[in-house]
Structure formats: C-alpha cells, structure tokens
C-alpha cells in the first residue's frame, strides 16, 4: 500500500466508523497526531481507544481530499473533514453542532503501513470564543479558576453559585472518561447543611422520609426531604463523618435555612450551619488509583456509601464512596476552602497518568442510569411518592417526619402520578424547560430529563406522568423541534455494569 492508497483507506474507514480498520492501517508503533489532541497517540491500543472516542463522537462523517502530493517517504494532503457531533442537543435555532474543518496532513509510510499521520487544522472554530460572562450576583466555587483553565463554556446557577456544566469537548469524550477513565468535577456548589449535637441523627430523621435512625459514623445514605405537604425539597446524600455530626450534601434547595427555621425555638439539641466545605467529585473506574495516590492511607476498603476522614494532598477531608456518575467514584469534602486550588491541582497531577478529564455532570451517563437531581423535584409540585426513589419513603417508620401525614394521605387516596423512562423518537434538543407529554387527548405528564444515550444510541428521557400510563404505552412529546412519539419504559435504562 502506498501513501495515497493508505490515506484513501484511512478516510473511508472514518466514514464507515471502522476503528479496527483505521488501526490496522498503522504500524504497531504507529503515531497519530492532530491539532485538537492533547498528546501524540502511539501504538495500536492507544490508537484504538482514541480513534474510537472520536468515531463515537461524530456521525454523518464525510471527507474530501483535494490535493495529494507524493513526498520522499510518504505524501502530503489537503482536504476537508465534516461530521455532526452526537449528543450535543443542537444549537438554540435547532441547527446541528458540527465538527467541520479543513486540514493539511502528512503521512510517512513504512513497509506499506502508516508510521506517522499528522493532521494540522484550526480547532478554534469548534469552540466558543469566550466563556459565558457573569454578573456579581452569585458566588463562585473556590475551584473557579480551575474550571476556567479547563475551558468550561457553560455555567448554570445552583445553590446561588456558578455551576460549571459543559466544557469544550464532544459529549462522548466526557462520557468515555467517566465510564473508562477518571474525571474531576467541581461540585463546590453542592453545599453541606451541618447538623451538630446530641440530637443530630434524630433531627435528621425528622427531616427525612427515609428511616435514618441507624446512621453511624462512617455511613452515607441517600434520602428525600419533603415539606409539610409531602412535596420533595431535594434528595441529599447524607454523610456522618463523626459522632453527632451529620452533613446533608444537598442539591439546589436552601436546606440550611429550612433546617434552621425548624430548629429555632424548638427543643432539638442541635446546631444547624453551612460549613466552609466545597466538595469535588473524582469519578470513573480509575478514580481509585488517583485517590490512593492522594490520600495518606489506602482507601481500597472504603465501601459504597461509606465515608472516612483522611489527609488528601495534605488537607484534612472527608472522603465518601458516592457521586453522581451512576458508577464507581469518590467525593472529597475538604475541611475549609482556603487551599482549594492546591487540592484541585494535586488531583490533576495525580490523575495525569490516567488521563483525568475535568468535566461537568455527565448527564448522558447519569440519565442512562436513572440518576437525577433536584431539578427533578424542587418546587416542582412533585410529592415523594411520585418520584423514582419512592422506595425511600418510609411511612412505616416509628418516628414522625415532615410531610409524613400528607404522604400517608396521598397513599391512602392513591398516588396520581409516577416517574417513567421514555424512549424518544429522533433527536432531542437540550432540555431547557419541561416538555409537555400527552397520551390520548390532553396533557398527561411532562418530560423532566432528556438526553442522547450513547449506550442505546437513541434519545431517552424521564417523565412524570399520570399513574395509568403504563410501560409499553406510546405517548406524544412536544419539544422545540416538534412533536414526536415516545415509548414508556422502566428506569434505569441500562445496568451499572453494561
């Protein structure tokens, strides 16, 4: 095979998404380098991994070679690559987000195979020129500079803090990183409501639908908090780092204000506060290697939903085997944020051998796994018996909790809605607000999460619908791209090991 034939085969393999064919074009220690890659890719294993990520990020790939000139040991080319990015949700006007670029390339051949393939192109047009600009109305995370340096483009607001959501990368790269590698996620906006004192656990139990009375130091528990009407406030993960101290690591709700209001002028022997604790999540199967490199003691034995206190990169912190990836991972809760960026950099350094990527929430994976968040609940008029974790509503627990009577009444009268999975036809835009859902005539529910599933290769969603809408039924969804059908299914969409 000469260089011209090799390049033609290379382009054809891209179009066919045939990663194996791509890899086989290279020598065993062949090198691929391109402008938007962080480093050269060397050897078949690395080539297969890296080219597979690109292939799974793009669809409708087309290539055109306009100029090809032979050189002493290969050839130079000029051409165009065009593809549509998968899983981005499109632009505001509905246009797809694309990776189209012109390139020059160099091929060096060795024994009929590619020894080096170098592509030079301008990747600037792929990305926003600037990140979103802010006004000084919300707090920044202590890891703010780290998220800017990592080229975060889109921030949201969460607990009155800026929430880094989307970085300059194809969605599949983040998805692959959390499933195969390791990710670092700034969740400084995930605030802790601290309950401290002899009544800490009892008061927690009073706030929670779930029976929390058996919590002991080192435990973590997922729970639901409801108001007096049984409507969900949020679904925190609760940590008990030490005796008589409980942290409700909560989503987008003012839990501290809520808890303090209840404790005021009461007999509870507990102090409620929001300590200066700004967590990060280190998620993915390789996270254990990063954590062991950072901690003053091995954490191999730290079980799922357990926590311990350790020195992490020289800083006292609570470590928990929790997270929002729907898979394996840890959260680090440092005591104080004065040295936050030191911790951030130490994690990046420890993760460098494992290709750590700074990401936001990897919604594509989380929703596949049925992991949702407070956008699903807070102030949305949903009672705790209607949501995906309703098994944690323990109406039979002996102690009272806020909302218990209301939820008992809902149960006695019959729950009117439930949460279901949706296999949605076609592509969906980014869900910026709930979409109406109909079965038959009239609105019968709403879609509260929607995303592209890389595992299933299709659009999926989670809806809250009338209780009589059953699995297997076809419903109609109206979103900004039009009205489409969806099939009702169960949650999660994929199993953890899939």
């Amino acid at each position: 095979m000469n260089a011209f034939e090799a390049f033609e085969a290379y382009c054809d393999a891209w179009v066919r998404h045939d990663t194996n064919a791509l890899v086989e074009l290279f020598t065993e220690d062949g090198v691929f380098t391109a402008s938007s890659l962080d480093a050269d890719v060397v050897g078949h294993d690395a080539l297969r991994r890296e080219l597979d990520h690109v292939s799974k990020s793009h669809e409708s790939i087309e290539t055109e070679t306009r100029i090809a000139i032979e050189t002493e040991d290969g050839a130079y080319f000029e051409g165009t690559y065009s593809a549509k990015l998968i899983g981005t949700g499109g632009r505001v006007d509905g246009a797809p987000i694309r990776a189209d670029f012109r390139f020059v390339a160099e091929i060096l051949m060795q024994d009929g195979k590619i020894a080096l393939l170098r592509e030079i192109y301008d990747s600037r047009p792929f990305y926003n020129d600037e990140r979103l600009r802010f006004f000084a109305m919300n707090r920044r995370s202590p890891y703010w500079q780290g998220t800017v340096d990592a080229k975060c483009n889109d921030y949201s607001v969460y607990n009155n803090m800026y929430f880094p959501m989307v970085y300059s990368r194809a969605p599949y790269e983040d998805y692959a990183a959390v499933r195969e590698g390791v990710t670092l996620w700034d969740v400084g906006l995930e605030r802790q409501t601290q309950l401290k004192g002899p009544d800490a656990v009892k008061f927690l139990d009073y706030l929670s639908c779930r029976d929390m009375s058996a919590m002991e130091p080192g435990d973590c528990r997922y729970t639901l908090l409801t108001d007096d009407q049984g409507l969900v406030l949020c679904d925190p993960v609760v940590l008990m780092p030490e005796e008589n101290v409980v942290w409700l690591s909560h989503g987008n709700a003012d839990v501290t204000l809520w808890a303090r209001g209840i404790v005021m002028n009461s007999d509870w022997d507990v102090e409620v506060s929001e300590p200066d604790v700004a967590p990060v999540q280190v998620q993915g199967p390789k996270s254990i290697h990063v954590m062991n490199a950072l901690c003053d003691k091995p954490i191999n034995d730290l079980k799922n939903y357990k926590c311990c206190i350790a020195e992490v990169a020289g800083q006292k912190a609570v470590i928990s085997r929790t997270g929002w990836s729907g898979g394996f991972g840890y959260e680090i809760f440092p005591y104080g944020s004065d040295r936050a960026m030191e911790l951030w950099q130490a994690i990046l350094d420890a993760g460098e051998p494992y290709g750590i990527k700074v990401t936001g929430p990897v919604l594509h994976r989380a929703i596949e796994r049925g992991v949702t968040d407070t956008g699903y609940y807070t102030a949305s008029g949903m009672n705790a018996l209607e949501e995906t974790s309703s098994q944690f509503v323990h109406l039979d627990k002996e102690s009272d909790f806020i909302g218990k009577a209301a939820l008992q009444k809902v149960k006695d009268e019959g729950v009117k809605r439930h949460s279901v999975g949706l296999l949605i036809e076609g592509e969906t835009p980014r869900l910026e607000w709930y979409w109406d859902l109909k079965a038959g005539s009239g609105k019968t529910g709403e879609v509260r999460w929607a995303i592209h599933s890389f595992e299933l290769g299709r659009s999926i969603g989670i809806g809250v619908v009338d209780i009589d809408i059953a699995v297997g039924e076809t419903v109609e969804i109206t979103h900004p791209y039009g009205t489409v059908n969806a099939e009702v299914t169960t949650i999660p969409f994929v199993t953890r090991g899939a």
């Binding site: 402008s35 100029i67 012109r102 030079i120 301008d122």
Partner: protein, 138 residues
C-alpha cells in the same frame, strides 16, 4: 533546518516561498504580491480570515504585523510540489509584542494562477491564542 526558499520548482512553490519571505520581513506589500491580483489568502486568527485580492491581503496582514516583532518559518522537510499545488509543513516561531515567544505547527498550501497564486492557505491551530489584531468591540 530547511527554510522555504527559492529552490521551489513550481509556481505554487515559489508563491509559498515568497509568502514566507514576506511574512518573515513583516512586509505586507511584498506579501500581497505573493498572491495573484484576485488571489485568496486564508490565515487563522486574522479577521476576516479569508482575504481576497491584494488590497484585503495587504490590509489584513498589516494589522497582524503591527503586533508581531519577529516571525520565522522553519522546516526540516522539503516542500511537496506538483503542477497543481504545493504544500509546505513546518513550524512558525513567532514573537509578538504582547506575549511570550510561541511555536506553532503550520502547513501552507498554494495553488497556482495566471498572475501569481490563486490561493494560499495557512493551517495551524489558533485555539487558545489571542488574536493578532483585536478589533473594536461594537
């Protein structure tokens, strides 16, 4: 190190050599002359990045050159040339008056025309680099 030079064998190759020599001299008049009268020059970072004809090519590069102290194109490879085009691959070492010295992998493609190159296209990754000439914020 091989500089792009007058050893170019074709019109397209000579256009690349002339472009590089003019860029290194920060001479926007000579640079414009490296392309045909209605030629196209494409350069990442210059706004607009597609410049048609001598006047636009001169103006676009002149604005860029105001912030460049020194530019050097180097390569250890020979230029690839054919009757239809030439491609040069190398490194652009550049010192601007607003930042530390930079090095960028760069490719240059030229196609011949009747009165000079009909097209000269520069390829390099400009992401993360401040533009050479920022325009007024409107």
């Amino acid at each position: 190190m091989k500089m792009a030079s007058n050893t170019a064998k074709t019109g397209a190759g000579r256009a690349i050599a002339a472009y590089i020599a003019a860029f290194q001299s920060l001479d926007s008049d000579a640079l414009a002359a490296s392309a045909g009268r209605n030629g196209l020059v494409e350069v990442p970072l210059i706004k607009p990045s597609r410049l048609f004809g001598h006047s636009e090519i001169r103006r676009g590069h002149s604005a860029a050159f105001q912030v460049i102290i020194k530019a050097e194109f180097v390569s250890d490879k020979a230029m690839a040339e054919s009757d239809d085009a030439a491609i040069w691959l190398g490194t652009l070492n550049i010192q601007r008056n607003t930042s530390a010295p930079e090095s960028h992998e760069i490719g240059i493609v030229a196609q011949p025309g009747d009165d000079g190159a009909s097209r000269i296209s520069l390829y390099f990754d400009s992401r993360g680099i401040r533009r050479w000439a920022d325009e007024t914020i409107l």
